[in-house]
């Protein structure tokens, strides 16, 4: 349990850095702005990493995450369809997009009596590319500018918060918290499934039902996240691995740690994004710039 202490301290440090570092002098207004950005960062980083961890546990595949499963890009696709119809990205459409694409990926990877896990990733990545192209077409046809598309596909935390979207964002974050807790209660089942599907089935776990629950809930979470901050990549992939390196395979411990580490990672990436240029840089650029070498380093060391 005491391994949480250093991680929590780093998390606090990330929050502290995010709040004190920035171009403007700190006053109450700037503080409000930075705190809202920190909240978005904790929410998005935490949710993505947590979902990544739980999906990796469920499918027993280290490469599974919201991005490689196609649901993040699917959410962006759904979101941009909603944007064409209503002029704004709605969580509902993003959820439907994540769900639809996820479902499609499953259908491709499905064989009689189970899932082909390698095919799951292949199908997910392929669908992810397809969705990105469709987002491009839809947005360009809708007269949207390229940077808007880029920021939706890479994600950024500098979202403008005003009286129209404030309540919505707060509600969505609260809902996400509830959904995360709901998923967390399945930690024991996930531990057993990680040992092997047969064992789990032998112990009477309804894998089919659990898969559907986890699949639907993560799709909803990803839909919410993407509709607010865009499709930020890499957090969901690498953070659960780091979490497992530190806390071992037990989901009771590594899922909350994934949340904390994901939040920390995204906050630090965002701080870097804010410091290196005067421009607003999509935070997804930094997460992959930092994430890829770090990931390679970890894997070489193992």
């Amino acid at each position: 349990m005491n391994r949480y202490i250093p991680i929590f301290l780093v998390f606090l440090l990330a929050i502290f850095l995010s709040i004190i570092i920035g171009p403007a002098q700190l006053n109450t207004d700037i503080l409000q702005l930075r705190i809202s950005r920190v909240i978005l960062g904790i929410f998005a980083g935490g949710v993505l990493a947590f979902c990544g961890g739980i999906l990796q546990g469920l499918f027993g595949n280290p490469l599974v995450e919201p991005y490689t499963l196609g649901s993040a890009s699917g959410a962006a696709l759904g979101g941009s369809v909603g944007m064409l119809i209503f002029g704004t990205i709605s969580p509902l459409f993003a959820f439907l997009g994540a769900l639809g694409v996820g479902f499609f990926v499953f259908t491709i990877a499905r064989i009689e009596g189970g899932l082909l896990r390698d095919r799951l990733i292949l199908a997910g990545v392929v669908m992810s590319f397809l969705c990105s192209s469709l987002v491009m077409i839809i947005m360009v046809m809708g007269g949207r500018e390229l940077y808007e598309i880029l920021y939706l596909l890479m994600g950024y935390l500098g979202v403008v918060i005003n009286s129209t979207n404030r309540l919505m964002i707060i509600l969505m974050i609260v809902l996400s918290g509830i959904l995360l807790l709901y998923l967390y209660q399945y930690y024991r089942e996930l531990d057993i499934i990680s040992q092997g599907m047969e064992t789990a089935a032998g112990l009477g776990i309804d894998i089919q039902k659990l898969s559907i629950i986890i699949f639907l809930t993560t799709a909803l979470l990803i839909g919410i996240t993407v509709s607010i901050v865009g499709a930020i990549g890499f957090v969901g992939l690498i953070v659960p691995h780091i979490s497992k390196l530190i806390f071992g395979p037990k989901h009771l411990k590594n899922l909350p740690a994934s949340f904390l580490l994901g939040a920390t990672f995204l906050l630090l990436a965002d701080t870097i994004a804010r410091v290196i240029t005067v421009y607003e840089l999509p935070v997804g650029v930094v997460t992959s710039l930092v994430g890829v070498p770090f990931f390679i380093y970890l894997y070489r060391r193992q």
């Binding site: 920035g22 171009p23 403007a24 002098q25 006053n27 207004d29 700037i30 409000q32 702005l33 930075r34 809202s36 360009v140 046809m141 007269g143 500018e145 940077y147 808007e148 920021y151 950024y156 500098g158 979202v159 403008v160 918060i161 005003n162 009286s163 129209t164 404030r166 804010r274 005067v278 421009y279 607003e280």
Partner: protein, 281 residues
């Protein structure tokens, strides 16, 4: 035997390509029945202003001014013009906007269709392009007078007045083109030039990008006296923005027509007057 034939065909093709390539280097000149396709809304306005609108056989769906332009055959929108529709009009000249229409420009070049490239960054570029298209369309005089008209109306505020303005410090303006993410104008854009000529200062004039994406904090830090919003979203109730001078003093302008300011054509005259009215207020 066979390979020789292939070689001959290949060489023939190369010669043909080279020949037509050289041919297309010559600028076309207007003649009776000259047909133009314009992919640039600003250039469509310019062609109308030069009095040769009857030559236009194709425009984009964005070409909505003057009213008659809406009735001209549409070849697609500004970002996605259809190559087939363009070619189908058998144009003598296609006006292409760069950098946005790079793809279609390459395709047209492959088909040896004459193109006119419009890519103005400064007011002088706009004037040069008007003179150039005027020469091609044999409307040199009309082009001259259009440029003179624009220069007359878009001119620097008189020196003594400017000095006085500088003494009382220029108004610092933030122009917002898009809310998600925040897009504004940097130094290399004619809108920045217009602002300066109107006697104001763009708060992001130090950025060397024409349309930079900026963080909210930078806007708050640079604290503009005036905010011009060129999209429909409300900005006064944003979290953290209430202490900005422009918002405190109710100097947020939302009713300006984007086409008057963003289209490098004759209506910049109207846009400039609107800017000046705001700055002088």
């Amino acid at each position: 035997m066979f390979s020789k034939a292939v070689k001959a065909v290949c060489i023939g093709c190369v010669v043909l390509i080279l020949a037509t390539g050289i041919n297309s280097c010559e600028k076309p000149v207007s003649h009776t029945g000259f047909k133009i396709v314009s992919l640039s809304p600003a250039m469509t306005e310019i062609v109308f202003a030069l009095g040769v609108a009857q030559d236009l056989v194709g425009v984009t769906t964005f070409c909505n001014y003057p009213e008659q332009a809406k009735k001209i055959y549409k070849i697609g929108d500004f970002s996605n013009p259809s190559l087939e529709r363009i070619v189908g009009r058998k144009p003598d000249l296609v006006i292409v906007n760069l950098p946005e229409q790079m793809r279609i420009k390459r395709q047209l070049e492959k088909l040896n269709i004459n193109i006119f490239i419009s890519s103005p960054r400064t007011l002088d570029d706009i004037y040069d392009e008007i003179i150039e298209i005027g020469r091609i369309l044999k409307k040199e005089q009309a082009a001259d007078s259009l440029v003179n008209y624009m220069k007359m109306h878009i001119s620097r505020v008189d020196k003594p007045v400017l000095n006085a303005v500088e003494g009382s410090s220029k108004k610092r303006v933030y122009i917002e083109l898009s809310p998600k993410p925040l897009v504004t104008i940097g130094a290399p854009s004619f809108l920045n030039e217009l602002l300066e000529m109107a006697g104001a200062e763009n708060i992001f004039a130090d950025l060397e990008k024409d349309y930079p994406v900026v963080p909210q904090e930078e806007v708050i830090k640079r604290n503009p006296d005036v905010i011009i919003v060129l999209h429909p979203e409300k900005i006064t109730d944003r979290l953290g923005w209430r202490k900005i001078t422009a918002i405190k003093n109710n100097a947020v302008y939302t009713t300006l027509n984007q086409d008057h300011l963003m289209r490098p054509g004759p209506r910049l005259v109207i846009g400039f007057k609107e800017l000046k009215d705001i700055v002088d207020e």
